[in-house]
């Protein structure tokens, strides 16, 4: 049998590859910052720029984190952006048109999100319909309700208390919405990594039948995952209403695909092969940093779409190559 000369360096090589994969997105993010910082240092390398990047994406981060929960459990939730839009519209209609205090309006909006998650779970689990179909249908239905209660109009004038709490008040120069998103990220990371409940969600996502045979209440776990995504979608809607101080019936819907993109891109890093909150958060900020850099350079807006889509496909492909090399027999 031939002796392998590099036998002692194999574990080192494997460890290096593993760490490169884990930190890949961080490295890409750092490279992006370095490149744009070199080209336009006066505009890019400023705390004003970074605090703006960090402070303006909380809505997408929270929505993406919410999406991770059903994705981990093996379900798709296509209603999330509709829940976001409906929640922000409920706040606007109650607070602006009916003068209801902002705290109660926010409470009603969150309740609607939780109820939507409950309904999604009911139709998926009781009638055994694929989550793609149910959430798509319920999402479209909710959009109709949003158009109805708003009379297809944009409503502005939401209480300054909410706007202050989201984008005006700052800590260390960064608007508070960033810290809310970080709190959700930390909470999700803790639940997935250190609690039995989080582990159960993972098992259900990895193999439903095996999980069921192991004694896990699969339906209960999936239902809980959908209620969680409904709750987090409505929380994203609260932040969205606080960002613009207004609500309109359609613009929130455009957040759905970016949330999926960030969730899948995030699964290539930190905990590769698994949807994970830190990876998803870094993915959102990496993509936004790239787009901010491009627009600071005055590049035309269509290039941003090229970057966004290209980065997603390239990153996932690279991740597959790395994984493929790991799995090929030596």
């Amino acid at each position: 049998m031939p002796v392998r000369a590099t036998r002692s360096s194999e574990p080192l090589r494997k460890a290096l590859v593993e760490w490169a994969e884990r930190l890949g997105l961080f490295i890409a993010w750092a490279l992006t910052i370095a490149i744009f910082g070199l080209i336009a240092p006066e505009a890019f390398f400023t705390w004003a720029n970074f605090s703006t990047i960090l402070g303006s994406q909380a809505v997408l981060v929270v929505l993406t984190l919410g999406l991770l929960v059903p994705l981990t459990a093996g379900d798709y939730d296509l209603s999330m952006a509709s829940v976001l839009t409906l929640s922000s519209m409920i706040i606007a209609v109650l607070n602006v048109n009916h003068q209801i205090p902002i705290g109660i309006a926010v409470g009603v909006a969150i309740a609607v999100g939780v109820l939507t998650g409950f309904l999604n779970g009911f139709f998926i689990l009781y009638f055994r319909i694929h989550s793609l179909i149910v959430t798509l249908g319920i999402g479209t239905f909710l959009h109709g309700i949003t158009l109805w209660i708003s009379d297809s109009m944009t409503i502005s004038g939401i209480s300054a208390a909410l706007v202050n709490a989201v984008i005006v008040w700052r800590f260390l120069g960064v608007p508070l919405e960033f810290y809310y998103a970080m709190a959700v990220c930390v909470a999700l990371w803790y639940v997935f990594s250190y609690t039995a409940m989080g582990r159960r969600v993972l098992f259900v996502g990895r193999g439903r039948e095996v999980a069921r045979l192991s004694g896990i209440h699969v339906d209960r776990v999936r239902w809980g995952a959908l209620i969680t995504s409904g709750f987090l979608s409505s929380l994203a809607g609260v932040l969205y209403a606080g960002t613009t101080g207004a609500a309109d019936p359609s613009s929130g819907l455009t957040y759905l695909l970016p949330a999926f993109a960030a969730a899948f891109l995030g699964s290539t890093s930190i905990e590769p092969g698994r949807f994970n909150p830190w990876g998803a958060t870094v993915a959102v900020y990496f993509l936004v940093t790239g787009i901010t850099g491009l627009s600071i350079l005055g590049v035309r807006t269509f290039v941003q779409d090229l970057f966004y889509g290209g980065a997603l496909v390239v990153a996932v492909a690279l991740s597959q190559i790395v994984r493929g090399r790991e799995e090929r027999p030596q």
């Binding site: 720029n49 703006t52 009379d151 944009t154 502005s156 004038g157 207004a246 455009t254 600071i296 005055g298």
Partner: protein, 368 residues
């Protein structure tokens, strides 16, 4: 001697100090151009009076709005429906969700049900309906693209006519506002949607005004954000532009609904006191933002008035009268001094005065 010195001093002061307080010609011209639009609009007839009830008897108009979820077009059609009821002709709105395939269905419906005129409002694009427009005009149905193009823009091929809006003038007024408020030193960020037909007309108006009044002291940068991407493109791009060029003092979103995404960008970058927003359309929620001081100025169009004006232009076509080149739809500038007139919360078509209602009644020779 002393008197002489005082007189000389006075003359020198008048020559130097007086001029220092005088306006630059650019600012004076800009304010002159804005002045007529700061007064409540007067009704101006687009053509001679005619007996609308008599000549419109038995006639029908089908309206296809760019989208029934768009409050702008929806409310114009509410006005047109009311006019139809008053005058005594049939008006139907083809409800749709902005899909060209639905517009096609509307065109076919009009042809099958023998409508006399099809109105394509606010962006229902004749260019993607070319076969249907041809089919309609070939059987004698008039196809009119309304609130779609500027006075100087060519009519889309195939249509029987247009009801244009003075988009070029609106663009000029936006530039005039920035020039007047910055003393001729505007550094503006202009946000457009190039795929919308009227954008070219408005942008030309803005460019010409800056070019003519302050070519050396004003500058502007254009950001393009397609309509479906307003919510994802406008805020980040405005943020970046403000950070890249801290001397920007005006943002001009040419359609005021864009402001929803501009205001947070200004807030997050902390530039609320430095950067002002001037825009166009008069959408109620933006007038609310003017009331709250988040937007400085909004050039308003009274949607009820627009509905009357479009109905007037189209009735003339159906009555065999000369085509209207200028529907005389007025603009009215709202800022914090008069935004309250639009209501709390602001309502559509409120704050412009009611001169047009009586004006149109007389123009159409209606008894009541």
């Amino acid at each position: 001697m002393k008197v002489f010195r005082i007189l000389a001093f006075g003359l020198i002061y008048a020559a130097v100090g007086g001029n220092a307080h005088a306006q630059s010609p650019a600012v004076a011209t800009a304010e002159q151009r804005l002045a007529p639009y700061r007064k409540l609009p007067e009704f101006v007839a687009a053509g001679p009076a005619f007996d609308a009830r008599h000549c419109m008897e038995g006639k029908s108009i089908l309206g296809i709005p760019v989208s029934s979820a768009n409050p702008f077009t929806k409310n114009i059609y509410i006005a047109m429906a009311a006019v139809a009821k008053k005058v005594g002709f049939k008006f139907t709105e083809w409800e749709n969700q902005g899909q060209p395939s639905q517009w096609v269905q509307g065109m076919n419906y009009a042809i099958n049900n023998k409508y006399n005129l099809i109105d394509l409002l606010g962006g229902t694009d004749p260019k993607v309906l070319a076969p249907q427009v041809k089919a309609a005009t070939s059987v004698g149905i008039k196809v009119i693209a309304s609130h779609y193009s500027g006075f100087e823009q060519p009519a889309p091929p195939g249509v029987s006519g247009v009801v244009p809006i003075d988009y070029f003038r609106a663009g000029q007024l936006l530039a005039d506002w920035a020039i007047a408020k910055t003393g001729g030193k505007a550094n503006a960020l202009v946000i457009v949607s190039m795929e919308v037909n009227s954008t070219a007309s408005m942008l030309n108006g803005i460019k010409e005004e800056f070019g003519k009044l302050c070519p050396d002291t004003c500058k502007y940068k254009v950001i393009n954000a397609p309509v479906p991407e307003w919510s994802t493109k406008i805020q980040p791009n405005v943020q970046s532009a403000l950070l890249a060029d801290p001397s920007i003092n005006y943002i001009i979103p040419i359609y005021d609904s864009m402001s929803q995404f501009v205001v947070p960008a200004v807030t997050i970058t902390g530039k609320q006191d430095k950067v002002k927003i001037a825009t166009f359309n008069g959408t109620p929620f933006v007038l609310g933002m003017v009331q709250q001081g988040k937007v400085e100025m909004d050039i308003g169009e009274n949607l009820d008035w627009i509905g009357h004006a479009i109905a007037d232009a189209e009735m003339r076509i159906l009555c065999g009268l000369p085509e209207v080149k200028d529907p005389k739809i007025p603009f009215y500038i709202f800022d914090q001094t008069n935004a309250d007139a639009a209501g709390h919360p602001p309502q559509l078509s409120t704050g412009y005065g009611n001169a047009y209602i009586e004006g149109y009644r007389k123009l159409w020779q209606l008894a009541n």
